[in-house]
């Protein structure tokens, strides 16, 4: 591929989850001949198994394609994929910063959703050209004209040049490619300027060290060049350059406007911060490119191996995962109940889920996760502030002056008939009302400030159930506010189980406590003795339920054919038992630790 900026188009695809982004990306890949149809797995950009299973994009990916346009010229397309989930918003901003344009996918049956809106605004902030695409027009319920109207009314951009496509059938994908050539501007860097390349992603490769994905904004870089990472102030010699199509193609040089990868024998991925600028060591750029905002984990939980012998394996696995996921944080911690493990920080609940599944699936480690917590700011009477991410570590109440908790600003888009129930829900979740706006004649946007702990708790499920799934939701961190919070302990068989402690809002403590212990009761296997489960605050029991003793648990008839059948049943139970942790004399399954999240006050 000969390279000329004029014939290059760098773009991302923005879409709400389920609006067909990955399918569209696949069609584009097919039509540009990047990969033959035969080699294609469904949704090639979602390369992690988990991504494909869940139909979501987690890590972003970039691919270089070549397209011969109707104007007779051959163009290089760099398609940079974006994740569609709120946990991964920061990844979206990374992708966008590497592009000149964004293809905005709107479902012809669903219209514009809150998540799309958030990402379009990110794109507009990045000065990107936006090319609207109406997808799924093959569906009988498609309303392309209405969808276009949505784009104009809600986003406030013209939908005149919007392309109507069906990613599923491949309809009008050619027209879309032509529109990309026409509507998305070519990069316009200065090849002779000092090197400025934006790092938008990186991953670890055991042979080559860190592989950095870059977008060259100014200048060029060659194999053998002495480079410097401006923010981390480290310097390296470039050992390999290339593009991914999606298989890697090695090149001697990358020039401004190009998207590709760079290797320089970098050992530690922590030195490579997305958003950092690569420049020349000998002829550095005068200033770095604007970086991204820092990514801070928002949700924390304890991760423990069910079998304590797996501790080292878990440590190795976390280290490996964090090589490719700078947002995953972990530090060792000890729990009286669970033994040795790690306190891990995640971007959100989905991120936590993904890491858990990867640890279990790829590394084969049975895990116990404690309920996720946020970081509380605990102000002591001596004026000191301690951040607490583990409820069991909360200092004694006599030493606490006040506790502050993180709030988020939540935008909830909903058909207007659900505004009442949502406001009720937000109120119940200690929300602070900020704003209510009409989005169009049928939908409204509610803006609330909510404690993050309530979001982590069961806000999503509640929101879904009170709006029949019609509301969409998006949030960003806002500020810390003082709250009336206390630690609630759970006692099993008279023993405090530290991993079951939680920090709760005092006026709701009794209901929350009862809800938690009732839920725990349903998952604790019965023992030959009665097990009291108690909720306590400051050593005072506020609620109690009992798990009845097992009296009879045996198959009465066991002859001939019963034997194999019985063994199979026991085999299944044995599998379930593997995921239990013995705490004192009581066996506690994984679900018990999560019961702190899933309880429903209405049950009380």
């Amino acid at each position: 591929m000969n390279f000329d900026q004029k014939y290059t188009r760098n773009f991302s695809i923005i879409a709400h989850i389920d609006h067909g982004k990955s399918t569209l990306a696949d069609r584009i890949l097919e039509l540009t001949g990047a990969v033959s149809t035969r080699e294609m797995k469904d949704q090639i950009l979602d390369s992690m198994d988990l991504e494909r299973e869940r139909g979501i994009t987690i890590k972003l990916n970039a691919v270089t394609l070549s397209y011969t346009s109707d104007d007779g010229n051959t163009y290089i397309f760099n398609l940079i994929d974006t994740p569609g989930h709120v946990d991964f918003t920061y990844e979206v901003s990374r992708s966008l910063a590497a592009c000149e344009g964004a293809v905005l996918v709107v479902d012809a049956t669903q219209g514009v959703e809150a998540q799309t809106l958030a990402n379009v605004y990110l794109a507009i902030d990045n000065d990107l050209a936006i090319l609207p695409v109406i997808n799924k027009i093959d569906l009988p319920s498609a309303m392309p004209e209405w969808a276009k109207e949505e784009i104009e009314k809600r986003i406030g951009i013209s939908s005149e040049q919007a392309v109507e496509v069906s990613a599923k059938t491949g309809f009008h994908i050619h027209e879309l490619l032509e529109a990309i050539v026409k509507e998305i501007p070519a990069p316009n860097g200065d090849e002779s300027a000092p090197l400025q390349a934006l790092i938008f992603d990186s991953y670890y490769d055991s042979y080559r060290g860190v592989v950095i994905l870059i977008r060259i904004k100014e200048g060029s870089v060659k194999v053998g060049d002495h480079i410097k990472l401006m923010q981390s102030d480290k310097d390296y010699i470039v050992t390999e350059l290339g593009i991914r199509s999606p298989d890697e193609i090695k090149l001697k040089e990358l020039k401004c406007g190009q998207v590709g990868y760079l290797c320089a024998q970098i050992k530690d991925i922590r030195d490579v911060r997305p958003g950092d600028t690569v420049t020349s060591f000998d002829r550095p750029a005068s200033k770095a490119l604007p970086g991204y905002r820092d990514i801070n984990p928002m949700v924390f939980c304890g991760l423990y191996p069910v079998d304590s012998d797996d501790y080292q394996d878990l440590k190795d696995a976390l280290e490996k995962l964090s090589l490719n996921d700078a947002s995953l944080q972990f530090v060792p911690e000890t729990s009286q109940a669970l033994g040795f493990g790690f306190r891990c920080g995640f971007l959100g609940l989905l991120h936590m889920d993904v890491i858990q599944e990867r640890l279990e699936r790829e590394y084969n480690i049975d895990l116990i996760l404690t309920a996720p917590s946020v970081i509380y700011h605990v102000y002591l009477t001596n004026g000191e502030m301690v951040p607490i991410d583990n409820p069991s570590k909360l200092p004694d109440s006599s030493k606490i002056n006040r506790i502050e908790e993180p709030y988020v600003k939540a935008n909830i888009m909903t058909p207007k008939e659900y505004v009442g129930p949502i406001m009720e829900l937000c109120q119940e979740k200690r929300g602070i009302y900020l704003d209510l706006q009409y989005f169009d004649d049928t939908r409204m946007i509610l803006v609330y400030e909510l404690p993050l702990s309530e979001i982590v708790y069961n806000f999503f499920d509640k929101l879904k159930s009170c709006t029949k799934g019609y509301a969409s939701f998006d949030y960003e961190p806002s500020i810390y506010r003082p709250s009336d919070l206390i630690k609630m302990d759970v006692l099993l068989n008279g023993q405090v189980v530290d991993a079951l402690s939680s920090i709760v809002y005092r006026p709701q403590a009794y209901n929350r406590g009862l809800g938690i212990i009732r839920r725990i009761k349903t998952v604790i296997p019965r023992q030959q003795f009665e097990i009291p489960i108690q909720a306590a605050i400051g050593g005072k029991i506020i609620a109690r339920v009992d798990v009845k003793a097992v009296r009879k648990d045996v198959l009465a008839k066991c002859y001939g054919g019963d034997i194999s059948r019985k063994k199979k049943l026991l085999e299944k139970q044995k599998e379930g038992k593997k995921r239990m942790k013995k705490v004192g004399s009581v066996e506690v399954p994984q679900e018990a630790f999560m019961s702190i999240l899933s309880i429903d006050e209405e049950e009380n």
């Binding site: 097992v550 009879k552 045996v554 066991c558 034997i563 194999s564 026991l570």
Partner: protein, 368 residues
């Protein structure tokens, strides 16, 4: 994959026919028709001769269904086909319903060397029997017992069901007393299990509440022990020396032949189950389900089965067989169970107490 083990010396034969279908039964069974039974016996004989390589069988059990639902001629044919295998049998049991075990059948039993009979009594209250679609009365049981004894068949088991609808605790205790008055050698009491595709399931009859079942077993056990019976397996009691030798083959994890529709067997390292499709079976198209028992499976089976009886698991044999020191590897759990009175460990034999037998599934899961 197949490993040769000593040939089985136990033989189970299944007769799937019944004159009427009981409301709770989920065994492989069908309504008796003369022509069906005729075809069935042909297929059965063929399977018997093909499968059973060993003529030196020590225990035989003909169960069902209701073996005695066959007419006298067919019944004779059945016993005759088994004859070549029964010469050395020390225990030869036939299952029977009180109403179909006629005097003529009893004479046939005697003639062919059957020395043990198992009778489905289920309840001694006639109104209860009627309500679950059983066709006999308690007085039928009495007369059958008399006839058997007159013909010198004295090794008799009586079956009882615990937790039938409308049976109170008091009635259950009466059942035990009534049964004891008949002086059987062996008593089996099964807590009712409601299976899919039974009248009970369709009518949403519930299994007895755990506490009721536990108290019932406990009370039955104490009544029977007072009368000299030993609780030797979860649901079985016997006078000394009258434990079922055939059933102990199952619980000792030994090999056995299983012949007939839906019958299960264990030969070499394979546990199998015959087709339950009657038409297939009688057309000699017996589709067999097989489970290959690995050494690790066998170890689990051994524990699961042997812990069902008071004879328990000999830990030294267990270690020799499987290379696992069960006590060393599960010391804490075992010690706890012993301290709480669920298990005993004497002369290297780990065995359940009455209380232990009641929660065996849990104990097994803690030890496996």
């Amino acid at each position: 994959m197949r490993t040769k083990i000593n040939l089985p010396t136990a033989l189970y034969i299944h007769i799937p026919f019944c004159e009427s279908i009981c409301d709770y039964c989920d065994f492989t069974k069908l309504q008796y028709f003369h022509s069906f039974a005729k075809k069935y016996l042909v297929a059965l004989k063929r399977e018997l001769n093909e499968r059973v390589q060993n003529k030196d069988i020590k225990t035989i059990y003909i169960g069902g269904g209701t073996p005695t639902s066959l007419d006298d001629k067919q019944f004779e044919a059945l016993l005759k086909m088994v004859e070549p295998y029964s010469k050395n049998a020390i225990e030869y049991t036939v299952e029977a319903n009180p109403e179909s075990l006629s005097l003529s059948k009893i004479k046939q039993l005697k003639k062919y060397g059957v020395n043990r009979v198992s009778i489905g009594v289920e309840s001694t209250h006639d109104q209860i029997l009627k309500s679950i679609n059983r066709k006999h009365t308690f007085s039928d049981v009495k007369s059958v017992m008399r006839n058997l004894r007159d013909n010198n068949i004295d090794n008799i088991n009586l079956d009882l069901i615990i937790g039938l609808p409308n049976v109170s605790f008091k009635m259950l205790e009466e059942d035990i007393k009534n049964i004891l008055s008949l002086k059987p050698k062996h008593i089996s009491c099964y807590s009712l299990t409601v299976h899919e595709h039974t009248v009970f399931y369709i009518n949403k009859i519930e299994e007895p509440d755990e506490e009721f079942a536990y108290q019932a077993y406990k009370s039955i056990n104490s009544l029977l022990e007072k009368s000299g019976f030993t609780h030797y397996e979860v649901s079985n009691w016997a006078l000394p020396g009258y434990e079922s030798k055939h059933n102990l083959v199952y619980w000792n994890n030994k090999r056995y032949y299983g012949i007939g529709l839906g019958a299960s067997g264990y030969i070499d390292n394979i546990r199998y189950k015959n087709s339950t499709n009657f038409n297939q079976y009688v057309s000699f198209m017996n589709e067999i389900e097989q489970e290959i028992v690995t050494p690790s499976d066998e170890k689990d089976y051994e524990l699961m089965l042997r812990l069902r009886t008071k004879f328990g698991v000999n830990l030294i044999d267990y270690q020799k067989k499987f290379g696992v020191d069960l006590y060393a590897s599960h010391k804490q759990v075992i010690d706890e169970y012993i301290a709480q009175g669920y298990l005993t460990l004497q002369d290297n034999v780990l065995a359940p107490t009455f209380e232990g037998m009641m929660i065996l599934d849990k104990i097994y899961l803690d030890l496996a």
